[in-house]
């Protein structure tokens, strides 16, 4: 009898759990529906990015940057006299999630633009849906190939790898005299596997030699075998195309093994955790490029920096700056076009020239690809992250 009682109670509990969840969702759904009639009063912007999961490091600062831009816009009276509202769903870095969320933003929440995603793969998924639904998507971090080609509603505002990598390779070979290079790719990281060929091509074209190649995987902590191999290869510098966590751990291992080598990489290395995790092992030993630097002397950046620190009590990074810029650029396009209709204001957006954003000066080329100048070479110096090492100009083709 006792067993049966427990079973019954459990069943009841389970059912209650399910019903309470259903109840909860019912009330959740009210929000957009109640908001729907008022949609005319507010301009909604949908956030694409991960707030949890392994790429949350890009999404979380991005969300803050976007939030800050919206708050600033609202303080100055909004866009076209309407208040702006940001909607933030977490896509966890999963493609099925971002697909659902993108559709929900467009059809249920009725947003006027999508901001994000910071990664190339997920941006492609969202862009495909946005293009079909005639919705502007403005990625603030997708650096890989094949994004804006999806259609004329797809934009991005970031320093492209194809632009930056050759500039950096030129700096390595000609300024530093590093001829013999090793390349490490993170094998389960789409960003890294896409960036490696770009670097390799630039190295070969500019007369450098790749003397060793290896792979790691994101999420691992033991890189002892790769570092031992690297040590025996005797390269002048190491090109690592992955993310900052693994970069810091590789450098830790190198320090432990007494290997003194400089690591060069893309903006995937741009994360506060690089300095936190790497400690002394990464100090002035890791160099990466980005379109954004807190040392950038432009007044826009300086103001952004102060405001951001005041608001969040931490330093912004590239993603907060790019999300911030994305919102501001969209706002400008809407104002210029005097419309919040994506099919109208996208024309204004495409015309963007020399926009002085906090993440650098942006111009959209005829193919809607952004050109940002300059390329900032960043490193870790003492407590400051990132510290500006050099600024390399980019020739606009």
């Amino acid at each position: 009898m006792k067993g049966r009682f427990i079973k019954r109670t459990a069943l009841l509990l389970c059912m209650m759990m399910v019903f309470s969840l259903l109840g909860g969702c019912a009330s959740n759904q009210q929000t957009p529906q109640q908001g729907a009639p008022a949609a005319g009063d507010k301009i909604k912007l949908g956030f694409l990015g991960a707030l949890t999961g392994s790429v949350a490091n890009y999404g979380i600062p991005g969300q803050k940057g976007m939030q800050m831009a919206i708050d600033e816009l609202n303080a100055e009276g909004g866009i076209l006299g309407k208040q702006v509202e940001g909607i933030y769903y977490d896509n966890k870095g999963e493609s099925s999630e971002i697909a659902n969320i993108t559709t929900k933003y467009i059809t249920v929440d009725k947003v006027s633009a999508l901001i994000g995603d910071p990664t190339t793969g997920l941006t492609k998924v969202a862009a495909d849906i946005a293009q079909k639904n005639k919705m502007v998507i403005f990625s603030s971090g997708a650096t890989g190939a094949g994004v804006v080609e999806i259609g004329d509603y797809v934009f991005r505002n970031t320093l492209l790898d194809t632009v930056a990598a050759p500039v950096v390779v030129d700096w390595m070979i000609n300024d530093k005299g590093w001829q013999n290079l090793a390349v490490i790719t993170s094998n389960n990281n789409g960003y890294s596997t896409a960036l490696t060929p770009i670097f390799k091509q630039a190295i070969t074209e500019q007369g450098g030699t790749i003397i060793a190649e290896d792979t790691i995987n994101d999420g691992e902590t033991d890189f002892s075998a790769q570092v031992t191999k690297l040590k025996n290869a005797g390269a002048d510098a190491l090109v690592f195309t992955g993310y900052y966590t693994e970069a810091a751990l590789i450098m830790n291992e190198a320090q432990k093994k007494g290997l003194d080598i400089t690591m060069v990489g893309g903006d995937g290395l741009y994360g506060q955790d690089l300095a936190k995790l790497g400690g002394t092992a990464v100090e002035e030993k890791v160099v990466f490029y980005a379109g954004f630097s807190t040392d950038q002397p432009s007044p826009e950046t300086a103001k952004f920096l102060t405001d951001y620190r005041a608001k969040f009590n931490e330093d912004p990074d590239m993603f907060s700056a790019q999300y911030y810029d994305a919102v501001m650029i969209i706002a400008k396009a809407m104002t210029d076009a005097n419309s919040t209709d994506p099919s109208v204001y996208k024309a204004e957006l495409a015309k963007l020239t020399d926009y002085p954003g906090v993440s650098g000066v942006t111009t959209f080329r005829a193919d809607r690809e952004p050109t940002k100048s300059p390329v900032c070479l960043l490193t870790v110096k003492g407590e400051t992250f990132p510290a500006l090492l050099d600024k390399l100009p980019v020739e606009v083709k």
């Binding site: 959740n28 707030l51 493609s95 059809t107 190339t120 094998n187 990281n189 789409g190």
Partner: protein
């Protein structure tokens, strides 16, 4: 049909319904292996990825018609299900579970290094052929065939193996062969679901089919009811739509999943509907209403 639906139903809800349909096919495949035959498979996402990639590559590289691409994907998954099933299904339950995890991981690593699949960058530009009608027609077919199979001589032997392998042998059932059969058919459905998925998502990537995806599918089967078709469908509907409705408490979703598994195993190890049959419901109603039988 699809055009009509696109106009009448909100794209977001249509999308969820399509995903539910795809998940039903995937989960019914896993149900056949784990729920019905009792062989714990924790690598169903691996078979899904085989179907997803194979069908996508057929579509992109060979311009194969959609039906052929789907069939190809399903057959590739079934073939590998068969291949891995032969040596491993002699293993005891938990060892088999480990092998399926390992196999799914190997498949994932394979696709991470597989040039035609785009490696870690993933494969994009897959024609978006999957629509509501195709999915739900297939769901209907899969449910009907599943039911027919499970009420046949061979289907009953699946259940018998789950209930008691030695007794099943003593009834003349070649348990290894029947298990391989269940595994192959389950993998086939996994591949079919994968094909539908890739042709709906337009973009796939090896990380979409990781361990957590397998666990999510397992959760659907376990929640609704091990071995029960309606149970599995209820599990899929709940676990696909709840997270959508609960975006706000999203971070707690996995916490909830984990707790759910433990609570279910303690109190209802066969899931909500695992051992409830229409016969029992009728009997229960009969008693309740005082009508008697």
């Amino acid at each position: 049909m699809d055009a009509f639906l696109n106009q009448t139903i909100d794209a977001y809800y249509l999308r969820i319904m399509i995903i539910i349909g795809i998940n039903i096919i995937l989960a019914l495949g896993l149900n056949l292996i784990t729920g019905v035959t009792g062989q714990l498979s924790m690598g169903h996402a691996g078979f899904m990825s085989l179907g997803a990639y194979a069908s996508a590559i057929l579509s992109i590289q060979l311009d194969a018609p959609f039906a052929l691409a789907l069939l190809g994907g399903a057959l590739v998954a079934a073939f590998f299900g068969f291949l891995i099933g032969i040596p491993t299904l002699r293993l005891e339950g938990d060892y088999l579970a480990m092998v399926t995890i390992g196999f799914a991981e190997i498949i994932r690593v394979f696709f991470l290094n597989f040039g035609p699949g785009g490696k870690a960058v993933g494969l994009s530009g897959i024609p978006q052929n999957t629509g509501f009608t195709v999915v739900w027609l297939l769901v209907l077919v899969v449910i009907i065939l599943n039911r027919q199979l499970l009420t046949s001589r061979v289907g009953r032997s699946f259940y018998a193996i789950r209930e008691n392998e030695i007794a099943a042998e003593s009834c003349g059932i070649n348990t290894t062969r029947v298990k391989v059969l269940a595994f192959t058919v389950g993998s086939l459905l996994g591949g079919l679901g994968g094909g539908l998925y890739s042709h709906y998502m337009y973009y796939i990537n090896p990380q979409d089919f990781g361990f957590m995806k397998s666990i999510e599918l397992l959760n659907m089967v376990v929640l609704g009811g091990m071995g029960s078709i309606p149970g599995t469908i209820i599990g899929v509907v709940l676990l696909t739509s709840l997270p959508e409705m609960l975006r706000i408490v999203d971070e707690y979703r996995l916490l909830f999943y984990g707790a759910l598994l433990v609570i279910l195993m303690i109190f209802r190890p066969n899931g909500l509907l695992g051992d409830v049959r229409i016969y029992d419901i009728k009997k229960w109603w009969g008693k309740k209403g005082g009508r008697g039988t």
